[in-house]
């Protein structure tokens, strides 16, 4: 019979060996939820995580928050994708708002228990805020805004506003931490079919979790909009400085309504106060890749192109025939947008 000491030794020994020779292939996706469901960008992160899976690896989801909507989201998450093998839930008022301090500690705690080889979050304002902090606590380099996964340790990400693609190899210890660009990992049809057998849901033990934080959430101001979400819309209509006023920007909104599209803006239009800044498309704003991107009165600065260059079809309408936007546009129309938009409103078919 084993003596307890030798058993402890064996476990410790085998764990050490497993890290050294065969990496434990578990991936953890840090997921967000809203109104009792996983967000679209979290589903894309799961899609990206699926690219890392081999036959003996597993995929865990981490959800945190407080109250019934969290449990509802966890139940849905348990059957959201065929690759998911377990759902971890951290239910506490500490996670009611996505503060980086408790979230980073949570990721650290979960990693210490689960020893994941990869930790993935979406490259949105939530993921970009918490993942690098968690990576620092774990003393590893994170890789942001991954657009392609070529091997379990080799990733492609854009640099210089998307004007170059850098292939990066991660050579450090576990976990390898990534934020992924949602538009590069579209949610496939397989994940739409929910599983018949939901995977187990485990509550994260938070008994060792500290109580006091040096940051507090004060308030959240959300832009109410009935239009589709900019990040995942099929059609995006963008206006630039040439709209000249917030009043004129309504033309863009009207056109968007007709096409069932989301509205975007350039930095110039946001800075001039025509629209709120969460509509900005570009290197420092949202990255979009819709099927149709229509730019009105947009010159096409490097920083704007960075946010829309992967759109399938790009249409540009501009008075200036030399505007750089025409270099990336599939269809260009040189003319006055104040004449062209009303004509388009008249001639475009009603949305299906």
């Amino acid at each position: 019979m084993f003596k307890p000491t030798s058993l402890t030794y064996l476990i410790a020994h085998s764990r050490r060996r497993s890290i050294a020779s065969c990496r434990h292939l578990g991936t953890l996706v840090i997921a967000e939820h809203e109104g009792g469901s996983l967000t679209a960008s979290s589903l894309s992160s799961i899609e990206a995580a699926g690219k890392l899976l081999s036959k003996d690896s597993s995929l865990s989801l981490l959800l945190a928050g407080a109250g019934p909507t969290l449990q509802e989201a966890a139940a849905k998450a348990a059957s959201c994708h065929p690759s998911v093998s377990q759902v971890l839930v951290a239910d506490s008022d500490k996670f009611k708002n996505p503060l980086a301090e408790p979230w980073a500690k949570l990721v650290h705690l979960v990693q210490q228990k689960g020893e994941y080889s990869h930790i993935i979050a979406a490259s949105n304002s939530f993921g970009k805020n918490i993942l690098p902090r968690a990576a620092a606590l774990l003393d590893v380099s994170p890789i942001t805004d991954v657009i392609d996964i070529s091997e379990s340790n080799t990733f492609v990400r854009p640099i210089y506003a998307g004007n170059a693609l850098s292939t990066i190899r991660y050579t450090g210890s576990d976990p390898c931490m990534l934020t992924v660009r949602s538009t590069s990992f579209p949610v496939g049809s397989t994940s739409a079919d929910s599983k018949t057998n939901p995977v187990p849901i485990h509550q994260v033990d938070l008994s060792t979790f500290s109580e006091d934080w040096n940051s507090r959430h004060v308030k959240q101001t959300t832009q109410d909009s009935e239009r589709p979400d900019l990040g995942s819309a099929r059609v995006v209509i963008t206006g630039g400085r040439a709209l000249k006023s917030a009043e004129n920007f309504k033309l863009i909104e009207k056109l968007a309504e007709k096409l069932g599209a989301a509205v975007g803006a350039t930095r110039a239009a946001v800075d001039a106060g025509y629209v709120p800044n969460d509509l900005q498309v570009g290197q420092t704003g949202k990255i979009v890749a819709p099927e149709l991107y229509m730019a009105f009165g947009v010159s096409g600065a490097i920083q704007h192109i960075a946010g829309m260059r992967d759109s399938k079809v790009i249409v540009a309408v501009n008075k200036d025939a030399d505007a750089p936007i025409f270099q990336v546009a599939d269809y260009g129309l040189v003319g006055d947008l104040f004449e062209i938009i009303p004509e388009l409103l008249e001639k475009l078919p009603e949305k299906k």
């Binding site: 503060l99 980086a100 301090e101 949105n124 304002s125 939530f126 970009k128 690098p132 902090r133 620092a136 380099s141 994170p142 890789i143 942001t144 080799t154 990400r157 854009p158 640099i159 210089y160 506003a161 004007n163 170059a164 693609l165 850098s166 292939t167 990066i168 190899r169 991660y170 050579t171 210890s173 040096n214 940051s215 507090r216 308030k219 101001t221 959300t222 990040g231 059609v235 930095r267 800075d271 709120p276 800044n277 969460d278 290197q283 420092t284 099927e291 149709l292 490097i302 399938k312 079809v313 025939a321 025409f326 269809y331 260009g332 129309l333 062209i340 388009l344 001639k347 475009l348 078919p349």
Partner: protein, 251 residues
């Protein structure tokens, strides 16, 4: 209270970059370099805090090759009181920069560390969050408004998040990273550029700060993004509607 501002020297935002033929990176020799735009905003915010009496001293820090001194000199001309240059190779990853910043914070003991939200060359958007984690300080990232309360030793930060704005209250000391809309950075005037020449720039070595340079990332290659096929200029709205409907099939 002292404020420390981290600034990075990058290829100027208006430059159309060229990729090296051996695919090892982006050409930076004989290319116009400037202060990272987000770092300018960070420095401007620190200067405004000093002018409003919240801060007593603004220290600009930068790490990298000797030319970083030029960028620091620009920061001093904008109004920073003094600068620290950490002599290091040009390929520093955010984790190393965060460790160096932590070491500098432990020497200088600032009440606030302000950084840009991202550098426009590597587009990482990590350093501020990482140094905040290493210091166990609260973080206010993507800030578009910062109000510091000296008595309460706290900062109220409006953050630009997906879908709107979020307001946080952070106990000082804290780390703040700046979004584009925080402020409009000033230009350095000629007298201030002259004055900056006599302001001190302290040089420090990696050994003094006791930070290991070893990295867990390796650049395999840097390539150009796929080129979009040439588009066409159309003559009328009718033609555009027709193309979208019958050629591109997107409406």
């Amino acid at each position: 209270m002292k404020i420390m501002v981290a600034i990075k020297r990058v290829v100027d935002y208006a430059v159309k970059i060229r990729i090296k033929s051996d695919k090892t990176g982006v050409e930076t020799t004989n290319v116009k370099m400037s202060m990272n735009p987000f770092c300018e905003i960070a420095l401007e915010e620190a200067l405004r805090m000093k002018e409003s009496g919240v801060a007593s001293e603004v220290i600009a820090v930068s790490m990298g090759p000797t030319q970083c001194v030029d960028t620091l000199r620009t920061g001093l001309a904008m109004g920073a009181d003094r600068a620290i240059h950490v002599d290091a190779p040009s390929t520093l990853y955010p984790l190393t920069v965060a460790k160096l910043l932590k070491a500098l914070v432990q020497v200088e003991k600032p009440g606030l560390l302000i950084l840009g939200k991202q550098a426009i060359d590597d587009d990482c958007n990590q350093t501020g969050q990482m140094v905040a984690g290493l210091l166990n300080w609260p973080q206010g990232t993507f800030a578009s408004k910062v109000v510091v309360d000296k008595e309460k030793k706290a900062a109220t930060v409006d953050r630009e998040v997906d879908g709107g704005l979020e307001t946080l209250c952070l106990d000082l000391p804290a780390v703040i990273t700046t979004d584009l809309r925080l402020n409009q950075p000033r230009y350095a005037t000629l007298p201030n550029i002259m004055k900056a020449k006599s302001k001190p720039i302290k040089k420090m070595s990696l050994a003094e700060l006791n930070v290991d340079l070893r990295s867990d990332l390796e650049v395999v290659q840097v390539t150009a993004p796929p080129v979009r096929k040439a588009g066409v200029i159309l003559s009328s709205v009718d033609e555009l509607v027709d193309k979208l409907k019958n050629e591109a099939h997107v409406i």
